[in-house]
Homo-oligomer: 217 residues x 2
């Protein structure tokens, strides 16, 4: 009874609603209409109402949406009302940067371990968490009920380590390696391919230049 499947596009927009609602709360705004929110966010009011109604009627006719209530509800939908024990695999620059990013913690993402394959790093602490070696990974995942693994290893190691993670029962992988991972259906993989994002930027840059070249000749 999983009702209607929610489209990926809708899911991707939810965190942005959540962010704007958080800002409205900081500004002590109590209620907002889909129309006002649409102007702030540069989307259509219709899309906002459609998106929210996938999850239930959070608004009230003639009134709009209660900001705090909607914020909380979207938080629940996103699973931010639960603690998610999380490890980092790859204690390089990016891994350490993510380890040092404190905001995750307050959304329920609790970093409990950092792992690497390089013995030189063993025992070094990042944000009070000491770097462990891969051989202790299986036991650690079980004992700490780790759900999420952040994968910041180089691509040649990533696929192999993803397998280890999956074999040991990890539920989700946040993948920063420049490769696609093979994972069974019940393991969630969310990719952050930074170089691909930069290439998209680069495309738009070249594109804009070409479009405006003729006019200048």
């Amino acid at each position: 009874m999983d009702a209607k499947e929610i489209s990926k596009a809708v899911i991707k927009r939810l965190p942005r609603y959540y962010r704007y609602l958080g800002e409205l709360m900081e500004e002590k705004v109590e209620r907002i209409s889909s129309n006002d929110l649409s102007k702030k966010m540069h989307v259509t009011a219709s899309q906002i109402r459609q998106d929210l109604n996938n999850f239930g009627g959070f608004g009230q006719q003639g009134y709009g949406y209660n900001v705090e209530y909607l914020y909380t509800e979207i938080g629940k939908i996103l699973g931010l009302d639960t603690i998610h024990p999380m490890i980092i695999l790859g204690a390089g620059n990016l891994g350490q940067a993510l380890a040092n990013y404190g905001d995750f913690e307050k959304r329920g993402f609790r970093l409990v371990g950092i792992f690497d394959i390089n013995p030189v790093l063993e025992g070094i602490s990042v944000r009070g968490i000491e770097i462990r070696m891969i051989n202790s990974l299986p036991e650690f995942i079980r004992e700490n009920q780790v759900e999420i693994a952040i994968l910041t290893l180089p691509k040649n190691k990533a696929k192999e380590m993803a397998k280890v993670l999956i074999d040991n029962g990890i539920k989700a992988i946040w993948n920063f390696a420049h490769t696609d991972l093979d994972a069974p259906e019940d393991v969630i993989v969310e990719n952050v391919h930074l170089s691909e994002s930069l290439m998209a930027l680069s495309y738009n840059l070249s594109q804009y230049r070409n479009e405006h070249k003729e006019n200048k000749e």
Copy 2:
């Protein structure tokens, strides 16, 4: 005469084609059909042919696509055949991690400067590039013809600094700050909202759990 507008969805897929073609080259594969590539990438062959034909007929009937040729052509489309001088704004953990990421360089993204607002960091070198203060930014952008700014400042500083960048002629901003930026149409903004990506992962995690709860009771 900018012909037909290419959809954003297509652009987002190009870097992935580029990555797979690069891997095929490493494996010394000379040619590939849309059908074989579609199996590797888990997309439809039809989509591959449609996508590529937005930019021209790169294939040959009865033969398929020449891997190296297609790789080069997609590289050109993405603007990877040009040098893009680039600066980082925000020398925190993430900024330094990106500075240390060497792969950008070989795609034409040349890091020429790192800036911060914290005077303590002034003069410290990251990857041979010393951290500069914001007051020298305008002159630096002009003299080095900087095109791209990587914005890794905290969100309260990001909007303000984006304005400085734009006023001084930056062409594109790769935005890692947890906020949307206001930019005129001719300035490209590519957002990387890491926490939103993690929330999407979290949603899928909760979702999967809910779908399988009933079965276990």
